[in-house]
């Protein structure tokens, strides 16, 4: 049986990778991918605690997190396509439309 702490360690490393990816990359599609990594890190935590505490509710929370992630991807990619039509770029450094 794998100790619970190992799952928590794995999930924290995964969250760290996602956080650094969001901070350093310029391509906005990759930034969205890194947000997915962070959501998955949280999901691993939820499922691990759900098994070790014998509570099924955490898995339902994971279900809702997946729903929100799907909605976030649809909206985010729609926004990216709209900005790309306007600016012809996907670098976050050049997304300064609000201060035109």
């Amino acid at each position: 049986m794998v100790p619970l702490s190992w799952y928590v360690a794995l999930s924290s490393f995964l969250f760290l990778i996602g956080l650094v990816g969001v901070l350093i990359r310029r391509n906005i599609v990759i930034v969205l991918l890194c947000i997915e990594i962070m959501l998955n890190a949280v999901n691993i935590n939820f499922v691990a605690f759900s098994k070790y505490q014998h509570v099924i509710d955490a898995q339902i929370f994971v279900f809702f997190v997946i729903t929100v992630a799907a909605a976030e991807v649809a909206i985010g990619l729609g926004i990216i396509i709209a900005i790309f039509r306007l600016r012809e770029t996907i670098n976050i450094d050049e997304f300064n439309i609000l201060k035109l």
Binding site: S5, A9, I30, E36, V47, A48, A82
Partner: protein, 169 residues
């Protein structure tokens, strides 16, 4: 046996997540993310959450990743110039701080061999999918309906955002 499976799946998850951040080409990053999703589904199987493993494969690897690949191919931007952001020194400080934080927490953790099993009297001895269905459609019925509303709004919003060019120009 379970330890070896955890080592394989966990190592593959961390490695493919690193590749997502590392690759310059967005298609390679998306493919690494696909590998990460599949290995996370394997972790869910180890954790006896078979329903969530199936949902992970269907929704993440089947739907969300295909959407990403569509957008990457639709935009078709050659990655030229620098691939990191401009404020990288500040970000390096924040990232190193977060990494030191996580590593310090892990070093101070006592890795307990096993938690004592907590008996849960309320849950009947059903399978994983049956239990989730029972709880989802009774106790969490209202959040379930709200989730469907969120999906509906996302659907309408995505259509409006992706096609409203003529109206706004």
């Amino acid at each position: 046996m379970q330890m070896a499976l955890f080592a394989y799946f966990g190592g593959a998850v961390v490695l493919s997540a690193l590749f997502v951040v590392y690759f310059r080409n967005p298609i390679y990053s998306a493919m690494s993310l696909l590998a990460m999703f599949m290995h996370i589904a394997g972790l869910y199987v180890i954790l006896e959450a078979e329903f969530l493993a199936g949902v992970q494969l269907l929704v993440y690897a089947g739907a969300i990743l295909v959407l990403y690949l569509f957008v990457v191919m639709l935009l078709n931007v050659q990655s030229r110039g620098r691939f990191l952001q401009r404020q990288t020194p500040l970000v390096a400080v924040i990232g190193i701080f977060a990494a030191v934080d996580v590593i310090a927490l892990l070093l101070h953790t006592r890795f307990y061999p096993e938690l004592p099993a907590i008996p849960h009297p309320g849950v009947p001895t059903l399978g994983n999918s049956e239990t989730i269905g029972m709880v989802l459609y009774t106790q969490y019925l209202f959040p379930f309906e709200i989730a469907s509303l969120v999906l509906l709004i996302a659907l309408v919003g995505a259509i409006v955002l992706a096609k409203g060019k003529l109206k706004y120009r």
